[in-house]
């Protein structure tokens, strides 16, 4: 027997986004005649190819020109996309997606074969995708073997049962599997187009997508334009006609251009949120954003002796005054952090962490005691080096932390600033003592964070290895509600302190008052241009 998961989301989608038929009034507001949404990109888009793209801004564009099996609504909930729904087998290892009747922008039908082709393409060694690991993370059968070249891509656990039925076989049950299909690397591409044009297939004019928009103009370093795709299945409910992304590297320049009315959405430069929220209370927005900022302690082989002592690590973490970091240094509504997973992650109950409940005075006292116990003091001060990559914000936080550690614990901290590539290379080689890091969730579920600290994770650079922790995370994969395990895992992290959590992110953005539908409550800041609209001033 198969459990039918009829998504109430179809109804949910209607609630979130009222259907309308060529009306000019939505929720009592007059639509603007000119439905063009313009926003700022920090950097040029590196690729429009769903299987090649690796960055967040690229994903934003790709979500407009392609559509995956499932989408997110404005709160981050799962709603149908190219699939109208899916069923799961009883052992939770087989997912069957029913595709809706939809067309590519060239008029070809979107079929299950397109998905099968694209998923195989992601892991095919010939594609050499940097995101091939994502399919391994999804647990699709044989994904790792294909990446390693041990079996051919055809052995991947995906199958087009017929034109409208796409079946995925997993190696292990992953409760949040369906929500992972929201990620761009799983989006379909049209085989005939890719093969006809080679790497040029993503050029405007060549590119064919199944999303609400088509890429109509791309001028590298300047702008990316996409325009309404009349072939899109939900075209009649799409309001924005054209989305323009302007590449503006400098955030202050972007703000000036926002204030001049040239763009509808931009990021608030660091430190300016307090001023802007006073001057433009309706436009300056601070919302949770799924990233967590930490300082790794190197407790591995290459790390210093001192950091192998849990008392030292705890003392260092306790002595960081997070309130000063969030309220005085960052000033953008960021969350003080005593755990790893972002506290606003869907379905995640922030566990009680012992030292989160203490006052800073208590934390400092405890830190002093622990460090003394470990044998460090005025006559034998702890000496450490903190690595961070070039950025004003990282620098300010590093200076703050060096002050806390110096004043409370007498730590002699050397600050080492490196450009990004050098910083990362050193970190991944374990060539550091204390090192700045931030992890951003790949999907809206706590395991995207907590899996990182398992001993078998490739991203765990601290050298932390705890069999109990690993067991908790393995077990969580098959639990109906893994929260209990997540709480225990977070408690272990607080007890072992392989890193000092510092703060959890907020997105600080400016939105023009005429723009509606921005997913303010979506932790991943996943937006689709087709959900937006612009009203008359």
């Amino acid at each position: 027997m198969r459990t039918k998961l009829l998504l109430s989301a179809a109804i949910g989608a209607m609630l979130v986004f009222p259907t309308f038929s060529n009306a000019e009034v939505i929720n009592g507001e007059q639509l603007a005649a000119d439905q063009v949404f313009t926003y700022r990109l920090l950097d040029d888009i590196k690729s429009f190819d769903p299987q090649i793209n690796t960055d967040i801004e690229g994903s934003g564009v790709i979500r407009d020109i392609f559509e995956g099996l499932m989408n997110e609504d404005q709160k981050g909930g799962l709603i149908p996309g190219a699939a109208s729904g899916y069923t799961v087998s009883e052992d939770k290892l087989t997912y069957t997606f029913n595709l809706r009747d939809a067309k590519w922008s060239n008029g070809d039908p979107v079929t299950a074969h397109d998905f099968a082709y694209s998923w195989k393409r992601l892991v095919d060694p010939k594609t050499a995708s940097e995101y091939a690991w994502y399919m391994e993370l999804m647990g699709v059968k044989n994904a790792s073997q294909v990446v390693k070249g041990e079996v051919t891509p055809d052995e991947l656990g995906v199958r087009a049962v017929d034109d409208n039925t796409f079946e995925v076989t997993l190696e292990k049950a992953i409760p949040y599997f369906a929500s992972m299909t929201v990620h761009g690397s799983t989006f379909p591409v049209l085989q005939s187009v890719v093969e006809k044009h080679g790497t040029d297939w993503t050029k405007p004019g060549n590119i064919v997508g199944n999303g609400a928009y088509v890429l109509s103009e791309y001028r590298s370093g300047e702008k990316v334009v996409r325009e309404r795709n009349p072939m899109y299945w939900d075209n009649e409910n799409t309001i924005i006609d054209k989305t323009v992304a302007l590449v503006i590297n400098d955030e202050n320049q972007a703000l000036t251009r926002y204030l001049a009315g040239e763009i509808d959405k931009t990021n608030i430069p660091s430190g300016q949120y307090p001023r802007l929220s006073k001057e433009y209370p309706k436009q300056a927005i601070s919302n949770p954003y799924s990233c967590s900022y930490i300082y790794w302690f190197n407790m591995g082989e290459k790390g210093p002796e001192s950091l192998k002592d849990v008392r030292v690590r705890k003392a260092l973490s306790y002595a960081i005054n997070r309130e000063v970091v969030t309220d005085r240094i960052l000033q953008g509504g960021q969350y003080q952090s005593y755990n790893f997973a972002h506290q606003k992650t869907a379905g995640f109950d922030l566990p009680e962490i012992d030292y989160a409940g203490w006052t800073q005075k208590e934390r400092d006292a405890k830190a002093v005691a622990l460090l003394a116990e470990a044998g460090y003091g005025a006559d034998n001060p702890l000496e450490l080096t903190l690595n961070y990559n070039t950025s004003e914000t990282h620098k300010k936080v590093a200076i703050g932390v060096s002050q806390f550690w110096k004043q409370t614990l007498g730590v002699k901290l050397t600050l080492a600033n490196n450009e990004w590539k050098i910083h990362t290379t050193k970190q991944q080689a374990g060539d550091f003592e204390v090192s700045r890091y931030a992890w951003c969730g790949d999907y809206n579920e706590a395991s995207t964070y907590l899996d990182l600290l398992t001993s078998y994770s490739g991203h765990n650079v601290s050298g932390y290895s705890n069999a109990d922790y690993d067991a908790l995370m393995v077990e969580s994969k098959t639990m109906a509600n893994p929260n209990a395990n997540y709480a225990k895992a977070e408690a272990l992290l607080a007890a072992d302190m392989p890193f000092a959590p510092i703060y959890q992110y907020t997105g600080n953005i400016m939105l023009q008052p005429t723009l509606r539908g921005w997913p303010v409550d979506n932790l991943m800041q996943t937006f689709y241009s087709r959900d937006l609209y612009i009203v008359e001033k």
């Binding site: 590196k46 690991w133 790792s144 040029d200 993503t202 000036t256 990362t424 290379t425």
Partner: protein, 307 residues
């Protein structure tokens, strides 16, 4: 003269080769690579990528393959970061943009700079001199990364006259601010060099002779003073022209022109080896070429110089 040009061009070939090999080695010795990211890639994925981009070959082989592709096929390879595009495409798109605003800024800087300098020298120690010196010092202390945001603040936000950035295929509205931001500090340098060189020439014997003959001042300046006074200016202009037309990071960054300057810097930061190499070679070739042009101009202006 022809002999010299041929000799110089023959010399250029080994120079460029040395440049290629040296930049190649230097770049590969920098820590990290194009695929270093916050998520360390698994060895298998990294191996697939390196195989695709030929990074799995020994370094000497990579250099040979690269030189072969560049010299015989004029193919600078695919970008390692902008994976949908080749280096040829990136340069073909970015270079015309920087060439446009760079050349206009150059012409503007030369005309205003030389005029200011000459004026200051002729009316030495008068209010005109002070004004010209004042303007050029003002322009010098306002570097382009300060100029650019100020321009946008004034012309886009306050006055609303000009768009704050973009290129739009070279629409004049979009060119004005990049040109102003880029030209001012060069204009100031040119003015200072012209002024001091002109002052020196005005005190030279042949000018005194010309004056004592009673020639009109205009005639003295245009026929006898300006030409020799231009020599130091011209030697400054050669490399300056290359710098200006190969793009300014600041201009590209602040005005989102899509020009080549920002690509150059980003390529270095991203370890985008092929883009980095492509632009380095282009800048190298242009530098060699314009140095030759400067030398020829020298000989033409000053008959004392025998090439």
């Amino acid at each position: 003269m022809l002999n010299l040009i041929l000799k110089r061009l023959a010399m250029a070939v080994p120079t460029i080769l040395v440049l290629i090999v040296f930049s190649f080695l230097l770049m590969h010795s920098a820590p990290g690579g194009p695929f270093t990211a916050e998520r360390a890639l698994s060895p298998e994925i990294l191996a697939n990528l390196e195989a695709k981009y030929g990074l799995d070959q020994p370094l000497y082989k990579q250099i040979l393959i690269y030189i072969n592709n560049v010299v015989f096929h004029f193919d600078f390879g695919p970008s390692f970061i902008y994976k949908d595009r080749s280096v040829n495409e990136i340069i073909a798109q970015g270079f015309p943009i920087t060439l446009t605003y760079g050349s206009i800024a150059f012409v503007l800087a030369v005309i205003t700079g030389v005029s200011l300098g000459v004026m200051a020298a002729i009316y030495h120690n008068s209010w005109l001199d002070y004004l010209a010196v004042g303007i050029s010092i003002g322009a010098q202390v306002l570097p382009n990364f300060v100029m650019a945001p100020i321009l946008v603040l004034v012309f886009t936000l306050m006055l609303g006259w000009l768009p704050g950035g973009g290129w739009e295929y070279g629409d004049p509205k979009y060119i004005i601010m990049p040109v102003l931001a880029l030209s001012t500090s060069f204009m100031a340098s040119i003015a200072r060099i012209t002024r001091s060189s002109m002052l020196e020439v005005m005190n030279a014997n042949h000018i005194r002779t010309a004056r004592s003959k009673g020639l009109p001042v205009r005639h003295i300046i245009l026929r006898h003073a300006l030409k020799p006074a231009m020599l130091p200016v011209i030697s400054y202009l050669g490399p300056t022209f290359v710098t200006m037309v190969t793009g300014s990071v600041v201009v590209d960054l602040f005005f989102s022109t899509g020009g080549m300057g920002l690509f150059f810097v980003n390529a270095a930061l991203n370890r985008d080896y092929s883009v980095m190499m492509g632009i380095t070679i282009l800048v190298g070739v242009l530098t060699i070429f314009f140095n030759l042009v400067v030398d020829i101009l020298y000989a033409w202006i000053d008959p004392k110089i025998r090439l």
